[in-house]
Symmetry: C2
Subunit: 492 residues, 2 copies
């Protein structure tokens, strides 16, 4: 049933490996999701759009994928310390800050952005606060196995003890000694035994609003245990693919590996995949650099660095033009080129629906088809896939111009190929901006207007043809006369 | 700041009471949400749309509402017993049914339907599985307070003991003796002490997939404790309003009151509000009667009982025409009447934007305005509000016809009144079906076409005017000549 062999670049081994899932045709895919205490940023979007592509392709070629992407909602907000505990305690619940209200706001916003980018919802979207029991159970096992210790209600993972048996820094290819060099000396105040030790469970100070009961007192989970607990619960102790942004490698994913290995006595992940960073005009995107625009700012153009707004599908197409392991550089020029490329691809797709077949094809469709699969089989290389599809675009336009021929069977096959790779795999869709232009009603009315204008020109009724041009300009519609007739275009 | 006095019908006292929240201007509102193991049904939608209206009005007049609506996702699915425990245990996680995958599917579907109906997301949307710790803590307290007992890992609430101090059946105005008559005798097999006792925590049998550790062994929460635990966590031990469908009164809400009172030594809810049932052509809507259509079937018309599809906003308008405490009867005739009413209201709203003001008004706007508030103040009576707005529609059309006059100040005020009550309170919006008609581009192009047609008619160029009529018919656009000019309409 699965008829393609994929190669995946595995961060753990720093090589491309043949993809062989643990329980074919099932694939377990876990991706670290957003922290919902602020608007989702574009770097996150790129990661989720990349794994949306990966998940879509795995399904497209026949795998049964369970895709788990978590929501980090344990934000550990603190109450207003100025008020003192007494005053705080006397406030009614409704008057107090409620972290879950913030969580809800940004979760809804995150889902809106994901829907706008046409990403499919994951199979399961578990939350950190929704898996406190599971995180406590895992912490208990790690203590029982001897890899963690409790100090004043906080549970620490013992990195040096773990490193005696396993390679702690394996994911980033660093030895413990190197890692230790990058940390400060512990002082007398520290509860931790080792400088790299990290918390599995944290004792809640009085000002902490989010807290749960545990065998070590009231507290909250550490920053890494949620993903280990949830991936294990829904995908098993050993999963196929774990993904996330490359900024998560050194600490979050390194600690995930250590926790899971210490708890379950096996390596948790077969293939680790990481997406690269964003830059703007060559400079790394960041809040502090002032060059970090939000998805909505990108769509509306409401940011000093943006000349105009770009449609969500043009942005998705833009992202697909860069491989997920390469830096993605935003610039107005590149976004505008992507807009044009996306339009050209969709125009060719529409042309493809109306081609007239011939007795035989003048080109080799199977070769084109295999190249599309080859591109995606090579570590999900979407930019190469797009290059292949644009070779197809040339052929489509040549057939339309009568310079190439396509058989009826190939036409059917090519329509399937294009709709499969454009919509199902790349996850592109007719643009909402473009949808007005594609809207049947408007198209039909515009055909009528163009007929009337042609008629008026023939009759030398220039007052009518001028009125048509002027009134259409008000509707931001421009006309272009070509040898094949008049085309119209809705400005964006 | 809050300038209106609301009366709420309280199920608990069976009277309309002045609404006086516990901590003004804050209002805590808890509504029992959907169980996400199947598509949301219309009865649920009606409940959530009703409380959306209630929440919107409370906010409109100045209250700060925290609206909590839960997701019941603890479905307690059982594994495939035919396979035997051994075989089941050997299966990889990915090969097994995963309840949270089902939960995710129907949660996404539920959110889609709610968005389609233009309901606002609640402030917090907590899940049952996300609050296992809280449910265990509450159960522990109820046991400690002496109102629950443990048998074989299951915790039961002791209804008869509770009833000695409190009125168990108060919400439905029934005595314990009456309630006992409706239950079967316990037999030797029963773990329960009393016939009305219900489970707070249930011991998991081997075939249960969803299970969590507890002081009483591995198990899962009972069917009522989640709402008590979550309303208390996010709104406090005493909340202002608790709502739900009236089918929840006798058991779920009656048990919620008992649990919360037994745990926190106070009545949990000041105002209990319940929405009434749905009927279809006078017969109660139910799956077994075959007359239970889903929201999507209602929108597409794809159900034997439906003559056609109805737009989400027409359905919302239709629901607003019946008070939430009355039975809502679906019929094609009533839905089509609602469609027309909604169109008439929106047309008048558009007319209102273009009225020409006079020196003084010929009618009393303040009176109309107060009647709108009075309607909503009287237990959120949306049908009366609509009647008042239609009185306003008559005035708008009369002003448009020159039979009534409106001052510039009143015009401004009336525009605010209409947009406030139509969009902010009733939660109506321009219909997506109607949106093509409202689309600026299409409107501008249609004005051009109508101008050309008028010109052609003047010139007796009937071939052009006929072509225009015929081509527009292809686009399902009809023209209507009135004394004020030509109107166009896009057929639905």
């Amino acid at each position: 049933m699965i008829n393609q062999q994929i190669q995946i670049y595995n961060t753990l081994t720093r090589t491309k490996e043949k993809f062989a899932p643990l329980n074919p045709p099932f694939v377990g895919l876990y991706v670290c999701g957003p922290t919902v205490y602020s608007d989702v940023h574009l770097g996150n979007c790129r990661t989720f759009i990349s794994f949306d592509l990966i998940c879509r392709y795995l399904k497209f070629i026949g795998f049964k994928v369970r895709y788990v992407r978590n929501i980090t909602d344990a934000g550990h907000l603190e109450g207003d310390r100025d008020e003192g505990d007494d005053k705080f305690a006397k406030k009614a619940k409704l008057e107090q800050v409620e972290p879950m209200e913030i969580v809800q706001k940004y979760t809804v916003g995150f889902h809106d952005v994901m829907r706008t980018f046409n990403t499919m919802p994951p199979s399961i979207e578990p939350t950190a606060t929704g898996h406190i029991c599971e995180q406590i159970e895992m912490t208990k096992k790690i203590i029982a196995n001897g890899y963690a210790y409790v100090v004043n209600g906080t549970v620490y993972f013992d990195v040096e003890k773990y490193n005696k048996e396993f390679l702690y820094g394996q994911l980033t290819n660093r030895k413990l000694e190197e890692l230790l060099e990058g940390t400060r000396e512990l002082d007398g105040q520290d509860e931790k035994r080792g400088r790299l030790d990290f918390a599995l469970w944290i004792n809640a100070k009085p000002e902490h609003i989010m807290r749960w009961p545990s065998p070590w007192g009231w507290g909250f989970p550490g920053w890494h245990i949620e993903c280990s607990a949830m991936s294990s619960k829904y995908l098993g102790d050993a999963i196929d693919i774990h993904g996330g942004g490359m900024d998560l490698q050194a600490t979050h994913h390194t600690n995930e590996i250590a926790q899971s290995q210490a708890c379950n006595h096996q390596a948790p992940v077969k293939y680790w995949m990481h997406t690269n960073m964003l830059t703007v005009n060559g400079v790394r995107m960041s809040k502090s650099a002032g060059n970090g625009f939000l998805p909505d700012e990108l769509f509306t153009g409401n940011h000093p660095l943006l000349e105009k707004g770009y449609s969500p599908m043009a942005v998705r197409f833009f992202m697909m033009q860069t491989h997920y392991r390469s830096t993605l550089d935003f610039s107005n020029a590149a976004l505008q080129a992507a807009e044009k490329g996306f339009e050209r691809l969709m125009a060719a797709y529409n042309t493809l629906q109306n081609l007239t077949p011939s007795a035989a094809s003048s080109f080799d469709l199977n070769q084109l088809k295999q190249k599309c699969y080859d591109a995606m089989n090579d570590d999900f290389n979407a930019p190469i896939l797009l290059a292949q599809l644009f070779d197809g675009v040339k052929i489509i336009n040549s057939v339309n111009d009568g310079k190439e021929k396509i058989s009826a069977a190939d036409l059917d096959e090519m329509q399937k190929l294009f709709s499969g790779f454009i919509f199902d795999v790349l996850g592109l869709a007719a643009d909402s901006n473009a949808s007005a232009a594609n809207d049947d009603t408007l198209s039909t009315v515009m055909s009528l207007v163009i007929d009337i204008r042609k008629d008026a020109k023939t009759k030398k009724d220039f007052s009518t043809s001028d009125k048509i041009r002027d009134d259409l300009a008000k509707a931001k519609i421009t006309l272009k006369d070509t040898k094949d007739g008049t085309e119209w275009k809705l400005e964006k």
